[in-house]
């Protein structure tokens, strides 16, 4: 197709002034869209957190009057008591918001958008308008999901996994429109994600700057690229399944009906999507943590190539392990064996990554800035989350701990201890680039330590709850004699959770106040090597006056024989030592 290379239309120049609406609301600038995603998903993170607090109130203080419970209608909180159907709503919507509207957009929407063009040396995404459409589909999806709380019968209440027949039969769930809103919302969000992923993949393949070869891509970009492929291929599976579920609910089709269809088909489809989804939620976190750890250690990342292969390996294996969510579902037990082995094997790339991070720290010159603290917390928490996965992968042990709080502990060690610590680190790390100001490091450290301690106090004891057999998603454990000993632990967890939530307010305040009052950041406040630090903070429209050229691998820290301990990717050692001043320092 080289014959059609001549451009016909030229872009209208970027110089002219855009209206406020075009510049900040319906913007096509990847940086603005990234920040839009950031604000949206932090809002959903907050909503999800509030739902979690209600859950913890009920778990810690069942049957006691909820403080401030009067604001809820009597269909949710009656006489100050959280009703069981509302509790089911809470666990469902907490999971849904956190997975689909907080963590996923925070990682893929925010950092995918913000970092990909800036780190590969592109002026913008391949399809800026598609990018805008992606964000403006995610917003109505969020509203549709929230709308569930305001319709008769309440929001979806069949768990974030929405197993039919419970999820599709109002007679069984007591939920009417809420369950359908859940489906429609996820279909719209899925479209948004697919558009985003198409954009990211095209951008990474086609828009890299001169010299930015595949193995000069920072690991964050590698992770986001592979994640985008997972999004691209996994989300349509969910969309298809959710459409069938919606048809079952509305036009009386029979896909997952118990008598005429196959309820278990939903589980296969959902988890065939769901396990890649788990990696969608953790791979970008691993990527940004790699960037931050290299920066904090002032060392090249240890085993860059094996890190890349580990990401690819995880993404590949992620497609063949979905059955480990279904060991007790009535699936053929022989399949259970093969899913167990594939699941065990997927632990290996995760182990490689962990040891490589440790190898990066080894003999480093570690700077404990706030992003680095979060990144180290990520590594240590991910170790726990990864190791606890081995218990469930072992089918006999899973018989006992399946659907207990052990699973809840595991997923929170991966998604909170893993992804969310990485997100806190990444936000702090790229905040100066986004807003031109630093977040306050003192309050950042206070926030980190409070979060780290309260987080562990909240989720570590959940392992023990699970080992005592405490089922997940139960409204009140006091019904069972064998759980009578868990009440004290539940109270402790709840109080820790309240502290954890309160600590996040520090972050919110720091985030908002630093926007206006934070210390001015230079182009490269962390003395990093990435391309995004070679342009002013915040970068202008188009990112660079001229597209940069890349000369070095991504993590050239502490190169011997250089005065400064970092070598930006758009410079070579010769250029620096020849006396040319380093740009962007």
């Amino acid at each position: 197709m080289a014959s059609i290379a001549a451009p016909v239309e030229h872009d209208v120049g970027h110089s002219h002034e855009l209206s406020f609406v075009r510049k900040y609301i319906f913007s096509t600038d990847h940086k603005i869209i990234g920040i839009q995603f950031l604000l949206m998903s932090l809002l959903f993170l907050l909503i999800g957190g509030i739902l979690a607090m209600l859950i913890r109130w009920q778990q810690g203080f069942p049957g006691q009057v909820l403080p401030g419970g009067g604001v809820f209608p009597e269909t949710m909180v009656s006489d100050g008591i959280i009703l069981p159907e509302f509790y089911n709503s809470l666990v469902t919507m907490h999971g849904t918001f956190m997975v689909f509207f907080a963590i996923m957009p925070l990682l893929v929407g925010v950092f995918g958008n913000y970092l990909i063009p800036l780190k590969i040396g592109a002026p913008d995404m391949a399809f800026p308008r598609l990018n805008m459409a992606s964000f403006w589909l995610a917003v109505p999806a969020g509203f549709l999901m929230i709308a569930g709380f305001f319709v008769i019968g309440g929001s979806a209440a069949a768990g974030w996994t929405s197993y039919p027949p419970l999820a599709e039969t109002s007679e069984y769930s007591g939920v009417y429109l809420g369950q359908q809103l859940w489906c429609v919302s996820l279909i719209v969000l899925g479209l948004s994600s697919i558009l985003g992923a198409t954009n990211y993949i095209t951008t990474v393949i086609n828009m890299r700057a001169e010299g930015m070869t595949w193995f000069r891509l920072p690991l964050s970009i590698w992770a986001l690229f592979i994640t985008s492929i997972l999004v691209l291929l996994a989300i349509p599976i969910l969309s298809g399944a959710v459409i069938m579920l919606l048809f079952d609910q509305t036009i009386g089709t029979h896909f997952f009906k118990s008598a005429t269809g196959l309820p278990i088909l939903w589980q296969h489809l959902f988890w065939f999507f769901g396990h890649p989804e788990v990696y969608i939620l953790i791979l970008p976190a691993m990527g940004v943590v790699s960037d931050i750890i290299a920066n904090g250690s002032r060392k090249p990342i240890f085993g860059y190539h094996s890190m890349v292969y580990a990401i690819i390996g995880i993404a590949f294996l992620g497609w063949v392990v979905w059955g480990h969510h279904m060991f007790q579902s009535g699936m053929n037990p022989t399949l259970g064996m093969s899913f167990m082995i594939s699941t065990m094997v997927i632990a290996v790339p995760s182990a490689i990554k962990t040891f490589n991070w440790l190898g990066t720290l080894w003999r480093g010159n570690i700077r404990f800035h706030v992003p680095m603290m979060h990144a180290c917390a990520f590594v240590s928490m991910f170790v726990i989350g990864g190791l606890s996965g081995v218990y469930m992968a072992s089918t006999p042990v899973d018989i006992y701990i399946h659907d207990t709080y052990f699973i809840v502990a595991h997923i929170h060690y991966v998604l909170f201890g893993g992804s969310l610590f990485a997100i806190f680190g990444a936000i702090t790390f790229w905040y100066p680039k986004m807003f031109g100001r630093m977040m306050n490091p003192f309050w950042g450290k206070i926030h980190f330590w409070l979060t780290f301690i309260a987080y562990n106090a909240t989720f570590f004891p959940m392992h023990q709850l699970g080992l005592e057999g405490h089922m997940r998603r139960i409204y009140d454990a006091s019904r069972y004699d064998f759980l009578s000993g868990t009440h004290g632990l539940n109270v402790f967890i709840s109080i820790s959770a309240f502290v954890l939530f309160a600590s996040q307010l520090i972050f919110v305040l720091n985030f908002i106040l630093s926007w206006f009052r934070g210390a001015k950041a230079g182009a490269n406040p962390w003395e990093d090597t990435g391309l995004e630090w070679t342009t002013p903070s915040p970068p202008p429209h188009g990112n660079w006056p001229a597209t940069p050229t890349v000369y070095t691998p991504p993590y050239e820290f502490s190169v011997p024989g250089m005065a400064q301990d970092y070598l930006p990717q758009d410079q070579s050692k010769d250029m620096v030592t020849a006396g040319q001043p380093a740009k962007g320092g």
């Binding site: 197709m1 014959s3 059609i4 290379a5 001549a6 451009p7 016909v8 239309e9 030229h10 872009d11 592109a122 391949a126 399809f127 308008r129 598609l130 459409a133 697919i194 992923a197 198409t198 954009n199 993949i201 095209t202 393949i205 086609n206 828009m207 890299r208 700057a209 001169e210 930015m212 691209l232 291929l233 996994a234 989300i235 349509p236 599976i237 969309s239 298809g240 399944a241 459409i243 069938m244 048809f247 079952d248 036009i251 009386g252 089709t253 029979h254 896909f255 005429t260 269809g261 196959l262 088909l265 296969h268 489809l269």
Partner: protein, 201 residues
């Protein structure tokens, strides 16, 4: 699809996959579409294997009108051919041929959807509705989503045709034609699979 007809200069082609963004983007997007139809077709196969009793004893032809749909299938294949013709015309700058073949493609696509609508109406009159068991559920979901894709394709094609009449495509740059063509051939291919699985087997 929104950018299918939008022309941009092609920077970085040399360093990328060797194709321009729109074409690469469409290929990537079609990867997603493949997975979507895989979910539907996979579910169909599992459901049918799991509940053979939910399908007519002597196969779908008991309920479905195979000859009409076969003709319709032929029509869709023809539209793919006319799409190829349109692209060939565009690549040599034959504006008249381009417009002619695009209109032919639009008409055949629209005719396909119309025949499908008539088919649905008749089936519903016969009492074969989505709630009439697994066969009805899967039939309407799969063919319906395919019909939806054809409709979206026809709408985009109309947009491209209007642009063609305004002379926006040349021998040097006719990327919009190529990109919509990719989508169109994909939709065609999916139909051949669906026709085989849903109607014939």
């Amino acid at each position: 699809m929104a950018d299918a007809g939008v022309m941009r200069p092609m920077p970085h082609t040399a360093r990328g996959a060797g194709v321009y963004n729109q074409k690469l983007g469409m290929w990537v997007f079609l990867g997603s579409e493949i997975m979507f139809f895989t979910a539907l077709i996979g579910s169909y196969v599992i459901l049918r294997v799991g509940n053979p009793g939910a399908w007519p004893e002597h196969g779908p032809r008991e309920v479905l009108a195979i000859p009409i749909t076969a003709a319709n299938t032929f029509l869709l294949i023809c539209s793919s051919v006319s799409m190829v013709k349109a692209f060939a015309a565009a690549s040599v700058g034959d504006q008249k041929g381009l417009r002619l073949w695009l209109i032919a493609t639009v008409l055949m696509g629209a005719a396909f959807v119309s025949v499908q609508a008539v088919e649905y109406t008749e089936l519903v009159h016969k009492g074969f509705v989505p709630s009439a068991g697994l066969f009805g559920s899967t039939f309407y979901t799969m063919t319906g989503f395919h019909g939806f894709h054809v409709s979206v394709g026809v709408i985009c094609m109309i947009y491209v045709t209007i642009r063609a009449f305004r002379g926006k495509y040349s021998a040097a740059d006719h990327r919009g034609i190529e990109v919509i063509g990719l989508y169109w051939h994909f939709v065609d291919l999916v139909w051949i699979i669906l026709f085989t699985i849903v109607y014939l087997i």
